[in-house]
C-alpha cells in the first residue's frame, strides 16, 4: 500500500545511476506509453483520462530528466543525498570563471557578426568540451564515496556548457530569421 511515488529511475525499472543506456530508455518510454497514454484510455471516463494524462505527464517528465546529463545528475544528487543543485551557486575556480567569460565574449562577437558557419564551428567546440565534462562527471559518480563538492562543481560546469549550447541555438535562430 506504499503511497510514496516511485522515483524517475524506478518508473523505468532502473537503479538510480548516472549511467543510463539512452536507447533502452527511449524504447522503454514507448512501451510504458503504450499502456499509459491518454489515447489508450479514450474510452474510459473523464477520471481515467485525467489519470492517464497525469501518468503520461510524469513519464514524459521523467524521460526528459533521465535523458539530459545535467538534469539527471541534479536529480540523482537530489534523491540520493537530498542536495539541491538547481539553484544558482558560485564556483570558486578562477580558471573556469575566466574561460566562461571568454566563451561568452566569443559567442557575443559571432552573434553580432551574423556568421552562421563560424557559429556552427563554435557549437562543435563547445559540444566537445561538454562531452569531456560529462565524462569527468561520470568518473566522479563512479566513486564509491561521492565527493559532493567536486560533484557540485562538475555539474555546474557541465550546466554552463549546455547553457552556452542553448544560447548558440538562439543566436542561430536569430540569424535564420
Amino acid at each position: 500500500m506504499a503511497n510514496a511515488q516511485r522515483n524517475y529511475f524506478e518508473l523505468f525499472g532502473l537503479e538510480p545511476n548516472f549511467f543510463v543506456d539512452q536507447k533502452d530508455l527511449s524504447s522503454k518510454l514507448k512501451r510504458l506509453l503504450q499502456s499509459a497514454h491518454p489515447d489508450r484510455h479514450a474510452q474510459g471516463g473523464s477520471q481515467q483520462q485525467m489519470l492517464a494524462m497525469q501518468k503520461t505527464t510524469r513519464l514524459n517528465d521523467a524521460f526528459a530528466v533521465l535523458k539530459h546529463p545535467v538534469k539527471r545528475a541534479q536529480y540523482l544528487l537530489q534523491i540520493e543525498k537530498d542536495i539541491d543543485t538547481t539553484k544558482d551557486h558560485t564556483v570558486n575556480d578562477p580558471e573556469f570563471l575566466m574561460q566562461q567569460l571568454e566563451l561568452r565574449e566569443e559567442l557575443d562577437n559571432l552573434t553580432q557578426q551574423k556568421d552562421a558557419s563560424a557559429l556552427m564551428d563554435f557549437a562543435d567546440k563547445i559540444e566537445m568540451m561538454a562531452e569531456e565534462q560529462e565524462t569527468a562527471l561520470g568518473e566522479l559518480f563512479k566513486q564509491d564515496d561521492w565527493d559532493l563538492e567536486a560533484l557540485k562543481v562538475s555539474i555546474y560546469k557541465l550546466q554552463f556548457l549546455h547553457k552556452t549550447l542553448h544560447d548558440i541555438e538562439l543566436a542561430e535562430d536569430k540569424i535564420l530569421d
Binding site: M1, D39, Q48, D173
Partner: protein, 618 residues
C-alpha cells in the same frame, strides 16, 4: 464514465459493438470527412459524388444557410453574404487583422468572443466559431446519413502550428455543432498515420503540408506503429492562397484596377486560382481579366510565387534543426495539401531534402483519412496494431515577467501531455493579489508573443515581500490545450483564480449558444439528461465493482475498501430516483473515493507493461 476499465491496448471493452466515428479535415479552403468502413479508411462523398466541401458558407437569411459548393457559387454573385477562409480568423483578435488579407476591415467588428465577428450585407453577424460550426455540422450530417447512425465521436485536424487559442476555438466550434471531440490531431501527424499505415514505412519522415491558408512541416520517427513527432514548425498564416494573392496582385496591376474595388479583387483571386491550376499541366495560359487580355507562362508565375515557397523551406531548415535531424537522415518526404500540386513546390522540396517527395495518397484526402483512422482507434473499435501517436507542443508557452519579457515555461517541441511548474513571489509587503499573463511564442518580448490569458490570483495571505511562494503550473493535455493552475504554497491557502481567455468562448457562452438553439426542446433535454445520468451511474457501479473484485483487496486498506463500497451503495440508491443533480453528486463521491485506487491500478498496469515485455524478450 467507465471509471476503472483498464483494457488491454487496442482492445475494446465492448468488442461486438462497432461505434461510429469520423475524422474531419477542417480546411481553410476545403473540408473533408472520412471514416473507417470494413477496415478501410475513406472520405465520404455527397449525392453528386463530390468529396471535398468548400469551406464556404452563404448566409441567405436568418433561417437559411448554404454550405459548400452552393455557397461557393454564390461567391461571385453576392459576395457580401458569403463567408470563406474563416479558418484564418479562428482564435485571432481584431489586432491581428493586418496579417489576414481575406477580410476587409469594414466587414469585421468586435464580438464577445474576443475574435472578430463578420458582418454581412444582409445584416447577419457571425463569429468564426459559429461559421466553423456550420461547416462541421454539414460534414457530420453527411457522415450520419451515409453511415446510418449518430456519430459517437470525431477527430478534427488542426495545423500543427496552431496556437492554443486557435485550437480552443476549433474545439468550441465542434461543441457548438453538438459533436464530441475525441481528439484534436495535428494535420501532418494525421497524414503520417495515413501514409505510414498504408505503406508500412519506417524511419524518419518529413511531412510537408501546404494547405490553402497554413503551412506545416513536421519531422516524425515511424517505428513499429509508434508515430513520434520529433519537431514541428511552420506558419499559420501562409498557404497556397498566398500564391493566388500574388498572382491576383499581378492581374490587378495589369488591368489597372482601383485598389478599393473589392469585387474586382475577389474576381482576380478566382482568376488567379484558375491560372495556377491550369499551369500545373500546361506551360502557358491565355488570360482575360476585365480590360486586360494577355498570356501568362509557368516561368512567369513561378517567379511570382518563388519567394513564398522559399519561405516554407526556411521553416523546414529550422524544424530539422529542432528535431536534431540532418537533411540526409530524412528517409521520406510526404506531400500534403492541395498546394503541393504546384510543380515549383515539388521541385524545390525535392532539391531541399534530396529525395523525391511522395504523393501516393491524394494530398487533399490524406489528412482526413489519417484522422478517421485515429478516430476509429479512439472510439474503441478494435485495431490490429498498437498504433500510438506521440505529439509535441508547437510553440513555447511562457509567462510575462518584469519589464515585459516573456519567460518560457514549456519550450516548443516538448512531448505532450506535459506539466511544468514555476515559482513566483510577491514584491510588495502585504501584497494579496498577483496578475499572471500567459503568453505563447518564441520571441523575447511579450508584445511579440500571443496573449493567451490573464489570470488574477487573489486571496494571498499578507506577508512580507518575497515570502509568498506562488506556484504556477502549466498543464498541456494530449490535444495540445493548456490549463493553468496557481496556488500559494507556504500557507497552503488555495487562492482564487479568475481566468479570462483573450480569445475564445467561455463555457457559459457555449452553453448559452447551445441552449438558444435547443430551447424549443427543453423538456426533451431534461428527460434525456436523466436517462444519460442513469446509464452513467450503472456503468460506474459496474466498473468499480469489477475493479474491486479484481484487485481491491490487494491494493486497498480495509478502510479504503469500505469507503468505496459504501459510496457505491449510496450511488445505487440515488440512481433509482429522478434527480439528475443527486445522481451526478453521487457519481462524484464514488470518483473521489476511488481516485487513489484507480491511480494505483493504472500504475500496476503500466509497470506490468514494462515487466511483461522483458519477460517476453528473454
Amino acid at each position: 464514465m467507465a471509471l476503472l476499465q483498464i483494457s488491454e491496448p487496442g482492445q475494446s471493452t465492448e468488442p461486438h459493438k462497432h461505434k461510429l466515428a469520423a475524422g474531419i479535415d477542417l480546411g481553410t479552403t476545403n473540408s473533408l470527412i472520412a471514416t473507417v468502413r470494413s477496415g478501410k479508411a475513406e472520405t465520404l462523398a455527397d449525392a453528386d459524388g463530390k468529396h471535398t466541401v468548400p469551406s464556404v458558407v452563404h448566409y441567405v437569411d436568418s433561417e437559411t444557410i448554404e454550405v459548400g459548393h452552393k455557397a461557393k457559387q454564390q461567391q461571385s454573385i453576392e459576395p457580401g453574404n458569403v463567408i470563406s477562409s474563416i479558418k484564418r480568423l479562428m482564435g485571432r483578435g481584431l489586432a491581428d487583422m493586418d496579417k489576414i488579407k481575406e477580410f476587409s476591415a469594414n466587414q469585421l467588428v468586435e464580438s464577445d468572443t474576443g475574435m472578430p465577428g463578420v458582418v454581412l450585407e444582409n445584416g447577419i453577424e457571425k463569429n468564426p466559431v459559429e461559421v466553423s460550426s456550420d461547416i462541421l455540422r454539414v460534414l457530420a450530417d453527411r457522415a450520419e446519413e451515409t453511415l446510418g447512425g449518430e456519430l459517437g465521436g470525431i477527430v478534427i485536424t488542426v495545423p500543427a502550428y496552431f496556437d492554443e487559442a486557435q485550437r480552443q476555438a476549433t474545439k468550441d466550434a465542434a461543441q457548438l455543432a453538438g459533436l464530441k471531440v475525441l481528439r484534436l490531431l495535428n494535420e501532418p501527424t494525421a497524414a503520417a498515420v495515413a501514409y505510414g499505415l498504408d505503406t508500412g514505412s519506417e524511419g524518419i519522415h518529413a511531412i510537408y503540408d501546404l494547405g490553402g491558408g497554413t503551412f506545416d512541416i513536421s519531422i516524425l520517427r515511424l517505428q513499429k506503429g509508434v508515430f513520434e513527432v520529433l519537431a514541428t514548425g511552420g506558419d499559420s498564416a501562409l498557404g497556397g492562397d498566398d500564391f493566388d494573392r500574388a498572382i491576383a496582385q499581378y492581374l490587378v496591376e495589369q488591368a489597372n484596377v482601383d485598389s478599393g474595388d473589392r469585387r474586382a479583387h475577389q474576381l482576380a483571386m478566382i482568376k488567379a486560382r484558375d491560372i495556377k491550376e491550369a499551369l500545373t499541366d500546361t506551360d502557358t495560359v491565355e488570360v482575360n481579366f476585365l480590360e486586360w487580355n494577355g498570356q501568362m507562362s509557368r516561368d512567369q508565375v513561378e517567379e511570382i510565387i518563388a519567394p513564398i515557397v522559399d519561405k516554407t523551406l526556411l521553416s523546414c531548415r529550422r524544424t530539422l534543426k529542432d528535431a536534431g535531424v540532418k537533411v540526409d537522415e530524412v528517409d521520406k518526404v510526404v506531400m500534403v495539401g492541395g498546394s503541393t500540386r504546384v510543380p515549383l513546390v515539388r521541385e524545390k522540396v525535392e532539391k531541399h531534402f534530396k529525395v523525391p517527395p511522395l504523393t501516393d495518397i491524394d494530398p487533399d484526402k490524406v489528412v482526413a483519412i489519417g484522422a478517421a483512422i485515429q478516430a476509429n482507434v479512439l472510439i474503441g473499435n478494435k485495431s490490429d496494431d498498437d498504433m500510438l501517436l506521440l505529439d509535441v507542443i508547437p510553440l513555447s508557452l511562457g509567462v510575462e515577467t518584469m519589464g515585459g519579457l516573456a519567460e518560457k515555461i514549456i519550450p516548443r517541441n516538448t512531448p505532450i501531455p506535459i506539466a511544468k511548474a514555476q515559482e513566483f513571489t510577491t514584491f510588495k509587503d502585504g501584497q494579496t493579489a498577483m496578475a499572471i499573463h500567459v503568453v505563447q511564442g518564441e520571441r523575447e518580448l511579450v508584445e511579440d508573443c500571443r496573449s493567451l490569458a490573464r489570470f488574477e490570483l487573489r486571496g494571498i495571505p499578507p506577508m512580507v515581500a518575497g515570502a509568498a511562494r506562488i506556484k504556477v503550473t502549466y498543464q498541456v493535455d494530449a490535444d495540445g490545450l493548456l490549463q493553468v493552475l496557481a496556488e500559494e504554497t507556504t500557507s497552503g491557502v488555495k487562492a482564487d483564480i479568475t481566468v479570462k481567455p483573450s480569445y475564445g468562448l467561455s463555457d457559459d457562452q457555449i452553453t448559452n449558444m447551445l441552449q438558444s438553439s435547443f430551447s424549443h426542446a427543453e423538456g426533451d433535454m431534461e428527460a434525456r439528461m436523466l436517462r444519460e445520468q442513469k446509464v452513467e451511474a450503472a456503468r460506474v457501479i459496474e466498473a468499480v465493482t469489477a475493479a474491486l473484485n479484481e484487485n481491491g483487496k490487494e491494493l486497498l486498506t480495509e478502510q479504503e475498501y469500505a469507503a468505496i463500497q459504501s459510496s457505491l451503495e449510496q450511488l445505487n440508491q440515488t440512481s433509482q430516483g429522478d434527480s439528475v443533480e443527486a445522481i451526478e453528486k453521487a457519481i462524484e463521491i464514488v470518483e473521489k473515493n476511488s481516485n487513489e485506487f484507480a491511480s494505483r491500478r493504472m500504475d500496476a498496469s503500466i509497470a506490468k507493461a514494462l515487466v511483461g515485455h522483458e519477460v517476453d524478450e528473454i
